[in-house]
């Protein structure tokens, strides 16, 4: 019918009609092109994407990450219909996996060290993302544990400088950051000095070897610190010690910057940490890279791309430290990290 019209218009020589028909042709061409391209794409991902998430245990935190991953996949696919049409996400703990689990997946995501090691033990390493991997403070991410070296790995730990930035922001104007570490887990001198230069802070490191030293080392450290930065190290910060660490620091009016939301709830002034939501976003970012690209991206361990800041307002108020909102603190840290 359009074709007929076009011909008619050309035949009659009516200028307006010619323009109108010209537009219709353009529309036709556009629709046709769209149809063809869409067909080609749908051909490409017509098959269903199977994603298997292996959890290290039954803790609710894994389920939270799984449901956040599902959520972000839906969001992502909604915005990128050209890349994904249907994604089938299943999650399981290792013991509940079917024998053929490793066979039919486009991507395997492991949550936690136990799950990562499980896949490794079964020789699965391709198209795999390891997330929620705790790293000891002394490990340089570039030379870290071999099993994660060749795989996309997302640490639970925040980069030292990120934590230091928050510590600096949490002192209420001070620049002296104290860190209490186990002797075997001390960050390297070069990393510390580089951070000092980048951030304009003074870092005092107190190394503890034996439990008897903890109190006295902490006491001395607090005398030279405007904030105590707690790095994830179960030898120093554990359920038994944080009570004394927090009360000692509080008595000396030195804020503690923690590494988890629980630490903030317990009495630290603030913490930079990745929530299940942050972790899931990072995983989905990496997953979509895997799914959309033919070639594997840069492999290896990474610090969390997304993070949150928690603040204990009550502690801040008692210490007389005024802190901006959590979002603003995060923005300030992001701004500081920008190259």
């Amino acid at each position: 019918m359009f074709t007929n019209g076009k011909l008619t218009a050309l035949q009659t020589g009516n200028t307006l009609s010619v323009l109108g028909r010209f537009c219709r042709v353009l529309l036709l061409l556009f629709l046709a092109q769209h149809f063809i391209v869409g067909y080609v794409y749908s051909q490409d991902i017509e098959r269903q994407q199977n994603i298997l998430i292996i959890k290290s245990g039954k803790a609710t935190v894994y389920d939270k990450v799984v449901s956040a991953i599902e959520h972000y996949f839906i969001l992502y696919c909604g915005n990128h219909p050209d890349i994904c049409t249907e994604t089938d996400i299943t999650s399981s703990i290792p013991t509940d996996l079917k024998p053929e689990w490793s066979g039919h997946n486009d991507l395997i995501i492991t949550l936690g060290t136990k799950a990562a090691k499980f896949t490794r033990n079964h020789g699965v390493s391709k198209k795999t993302i390891h997330a929620m991997i705790p790293m000891l403070p002394n490990r340089n991410p570039n030379i870290s544990d071999g099993i994660f070296q060749e795989t996309d790995t997302i640490y639970l730990n925040q980069p030292l400088e990120r934590s230091l930035r928050l510590a600096k922001l949490s002192t209420g104007g001070g620049k002296r950051i104290g860190i209490l570490v186990h002797k075997n887990n001390a960050p390297s001198e070069s990393i510390l000095r580089r951070s000092e230069n980048n951030l304009g802070v003074t870092i005092t490191l107190a190394e503890v070897e034996d439990s008897k030293e903890l109190g006295s080392k902490l006491g001395k450290l607090l005398g030279r610190s405007d904030a105590l930065l707690a790095l994830p190290d179960a030898n120093i910060h554990n359920r038994k010690t944080i009570s004394n660490i927090l009360t000692s620091t509080y008595r000396k009016q030195v804020p503690v910057v923690g590494f988890s939301a629980a630490y903030v709830k317990a009495g630290a002034i603030s913490a930079v940490h990745s929530t299940p939501d942050d972790i899931a976003r990072h995983i989905v970012d990496l997953s979509t890279s895997h799914l959309s690209a033919k070639n594997d991206l840069i492999k290896g361990p990474k610090y969390p791309k997304y993070f949150s800041v928690s603040v204990n307002r009550k502690v801040a108020r008692s210490l007389g430290i005024k802190l901006p909102s959590e979002t603003r603190l995060r923005d300030q840290i992001i701004a500081g990290e920008a190259p």
Binding site: A59, V61, L111, G112, T113, P134, L136, T171, G172, G173, G174, K175, R176, H182, N184, N185, T202, D210, S211, K212, E213, L214, G215, S216, G219, G223, R224, D226, P232, A234, N235, I236, R239, K240, T241, I242, S243, N244, L246, T247, S248, Y250, R251, Q253, V254, S260, A262, Y263, K265, A266, G267, H273, K314, V315, R317, S318, L319, G320, I321, K322
Partner: protein, 736 residues
């Protein structure tokens, strides 16, 4: 030299709400290479600093405060707590003997500063019988103190009656397991100063403890027989039951011998034997991060053994100045004839008056007192903007002394109390503190002590506050019940009434209004607090001589015998001292409190107080009416000033110096008009570290401008407390 700003030092906190939990430090794994699980990042932790345990920021506190922290304690070189309080603006400290002191805010105190509340770790150490605090008997060493928070002004809304002029809140240092290991400290110095102090702290599982013991002796003032020796023991234990429950135990006792008296027939030199002990237990339960309960019980016991026996009556008579012209053997007869209008010789005098030729006995200070106190408290953070503390308590005070109360049984007084205080952040710029306490004392009308304060944060650094409060001071057991009698030979054989309570006294009240400014400049390490105040004290409980009070009649009926007895009694003392509510005082003034720490090595603290005091109290009552009144404007110093400076060198050497000034003032009761007090102290210390131990040696020079007078200034009584320059050498060693 590092020139790092030290912004946190300036933040000083009100710890009224701080409760310290307890568990020991335990490192999970000595190897230090344990892999951590994901749960480490997401697992729950016990809430340590719940909203309820947190203290107020200085900028949010309703009253002016002075904080004396460890740095200041060390720099001051003070060997005892009263000396530390000299730093506080408006404070006057008087040593009535070389080791025993009284400390008061805005004056108007004697040996027993009855208008000051003093708390050690939440335990009121105010003595219920005499009032005031027996500082020397407290089993506490300055090295154990983390902080002294002095609330300059009434705070009965939070701490109850007797938090009248001010509150001294002493928080002992370090959780038991904070500084595990042993520590030894010794002092030797002029005035035969000797001291040895030791402590040990450790933990067993979830139980952490610290024990400490002390012995010291000091000769005191050169011109007084006031040598003292004290020994004490202290135990502090904390048991963590679980994440939410902690139980604290504290026990201490002390014994001390203190030289007392002067050349007065009834105040001759003697030695007081003091005993003190306390037991405290507190259970803290944390329902949630914003809801905490605390239940505390404590008992304080104080005993002072002090009874004085004069020479026998005939020997007293033989020593009287007026009779020295007569031969010694007949002096008693002449005395008896004179008193009886020529009717009796000495033997008849004794017989007719039912006397024996025995010593007169009395005690100025001998008593026992107990305080039992139970308190429940709940602290709630109902929202981000509102924090609430409420609680209820019950207390029984007991006093026992046949000397003071003229009975062998204890006198008791019960108290019930209910209190609530709220901190409401209306907006980031405005904070309201409102609270009050209702107290009901046995045999007294209930009364309410309210407080309202508004703080306005003009910006991050500047805060203005306005506050109003009312507080009461309960009469002590002594003021309400004293019946101090001079006995013949044995108690209850009455000869002369010396001091007699004449009525059920009302509490003395204070209305206080304060305008304050707090500047906090962390970048400069500076905190400045200014306070303008107006205080009005009414119903002053006031001691005066009432000549209308009769002396005991010893069951006599014969008029000559009665008249003779009356003459004899008047010779001992005419009338009797007593207490009534009579008098008022107004104090207007301003105070400056400056804390400047430009670097972690430098410290300057400055306190200045100006007080314009006026008012009057009853001085003489005859025939039931007040015959004359006493102007009390000199009972407080117009100006007080203190400055403390310290610098620590890279070498670990620290030099510090303090200067204290208190203007001329009159100390109450037996105290005297004391001229302007100026004292200059210097301390030179060197810290060192040896393998496995830390230590410090310090040379302390006190009263370098020696010669100033303290509390007693009565050359006619041979009673002048004069401080001389004295040097002390202090050494301490801590074993890790």
């Amino acid at each position: 030299m590092q020139l790092l700003i030290h912004p946190l030092r300036y933040r000083r906190l009100l710890s009224s709400l701080v409760v310290l939990p307890a568990i020991c430090f335990q490192i999970g794994n000595a190897a230090g290479s344990d892999p951590i699980s994901e749960d480490y990042f997401f697992g729950e932790l016990p809430v340590v600093l719940s909203a309820t345990r947190l203290s107020q920021s200085l900028a949010d506190t309703p009253t002016a405060m002075t904080i004396i922290d460890k740095e200041m304690i060390r720099a001051s070189g003070s060997r005892n707590i009263p000396d530390l309080l000299r730093l506080v603006p408006g404070f006057a400290v008087g040593f009535y003997s070389g080791s025993r002191a009284t400390a008061t805010y805005h004056g108007m105190a004697d040996q027993y500063a009855r208008d000051m509340q003093v708390l050690i770790d939440g335990r009121s150490v105010y003595d219920p019988a005499f009032g005031g605090v027996a500082w020397a008997d407290m089993p506490i060493e300055v090295d154990e103190i983390a902080r002294i928070e002095v609330i300059r002004g009434p705070n009965a809304a939070a701490y109850g009656s007797n938090s009248f002029a001010g509150v001294v809140n002493i928080i002992t240092t370090d959780h038991p397991a904070d500084r595990p290991g042993a520590m030894l400290k010794t002092i030797i110095g002029e005035g035969n100063a000797r001291k040895i102090y030791g402590r040990y702290a450790d933990s067993i599982g979830d139980f952490a403890y610290r024990i400490s013991a002390n012995y010291e002796e000091y000769d005191g003032f050169e011109e007084r027989e006031d040598s003292a020796d004290t020994r004490w023991f202290n135990f502090h234990g904390e048991q963590t039951l679980d994440n939410d429950d902690t139980v604290e135990f504290r026990v201490g006792f002390s014994r001390g011998n203190y030289g007392e008296g002067w050349s007065d027939i009834f105040q001759q030199t003697r030695v007081l034997n003091n005993r003190y002990n306390f037991q405290q237990i507190a259970w803290t339960h944390q329902q949630s991060p914003s809801n905490e309960f605390r239940l505390q019980f404590y008992h304080n016991y104080q005993q002072i053994e002090d009874s004085y026996r004069s020479p026998i009556i005939s020997d007293i008579i033989k020593g009287l100045d007026d009779l020295q012209g007569f031969p010694e053997p007949i002096r008693p007869d002449i005395f008896a004839l004179g008193l009886s209008g020529g009717n009796y010789n000495f033997q008849m005098f004794l017989d007719e008056l039912k006397l024996t030729d025995s010593p007169l006995t009395l005690s100025w200070l001998g008593f026992e007192s107990d305080r039992y106190d139970l308190e429940f408290q709940q602290t709630l953070q109902t929202s981000d903007n509102l924090r609430l503390v409420w609680g209820a308590g019950a207390r029984q005070d007991q006093g026992k002394s046949v000397w003071i109360f003229h009975q062998r049984d204890s006198i008791t007084r019960d108290q019930l109390r209910l209190f609530a205080n709220a901190e409401w952040h209306i907006s980031p710029a405005w904070v309201v503190n409102a609270g009050g306490m209702v107290e009901r004392f046995e045999d007294k009308d209930p009364f309410f002590s309210p407080r309202l304060a508004i703080n306005h944060h003009m910006d991050q650094h500047n805060t203005i506050r306005a506050s109003a409060s009312r507080a009461y001071r309960m009469p002590t057991l002594l003021e309400d019940h004293i019946n101090l009698v001079v006995f013949l030979d044995e108690p209850l054989n009455d000869v002369n009434t010396w001091v007699l309570a004449t009525g059920n006294l009302d509490p003395q009240s204070i209305d206080s209004f304060e305008l304050g400014y707090l500047g906090s400049f962390p970048e400069a390490g500076l905190t400045l607090d200014l306070k303008l105040f107006h205080e009005k004290i009414d119903n002053v409980i006031n001691e005066f001589r009432n000549f209308d009070i009769p002396d005991p009649d010893r069951g006599l009926t014969d008029p000559i015998a009665l008249a003779t007895l009356n003459n004899f009694s008047d010779l001992v003392q005419e009338g009797a001292d007593t207490y009534i509510n009579s008098g008022e005082a107004t104090i207007n003034g301003l105070e400056v409190n400056l804390d400047f720490r430009p670097t972690p090595r430098d410290l300057i603290f400055l306190g200045y107080g100006y007080a314009n005091t006026y008012g009057q109290e009853a001085f003489l009552i005859l025939d039931g009416t007040v015959q004359s009144r006493n102007d009390i404007s000199d009972n407080a110093a117009s100006h007080t000033f203190s400055i403390l400076g310290s610098h620590r060198f890279d070498s670990g050497i620290q030099i510090s110096s303090a200067y204290y000034y208190v203007g001329e003032m009159i100390w109450g009761s037996e105290g005297d008009l004391v001229p302007t007090f100026r004292r200059w102290d210097v301390r030179l210390g060197k810290q060192f570290t040896l393998p496995g131990m830390d230590g410090e040696i310090a040379l302390i020079g006190q009263n370098l401008n020696g010669g100033h007078v303290d509390f007693f200034n009565a050359p006619n009584r041979d009673l002048v407390n004069r401080w001389e320059t004295r040097f002390f050498l202090q050494a301490s060693l801590g074993f890790r």
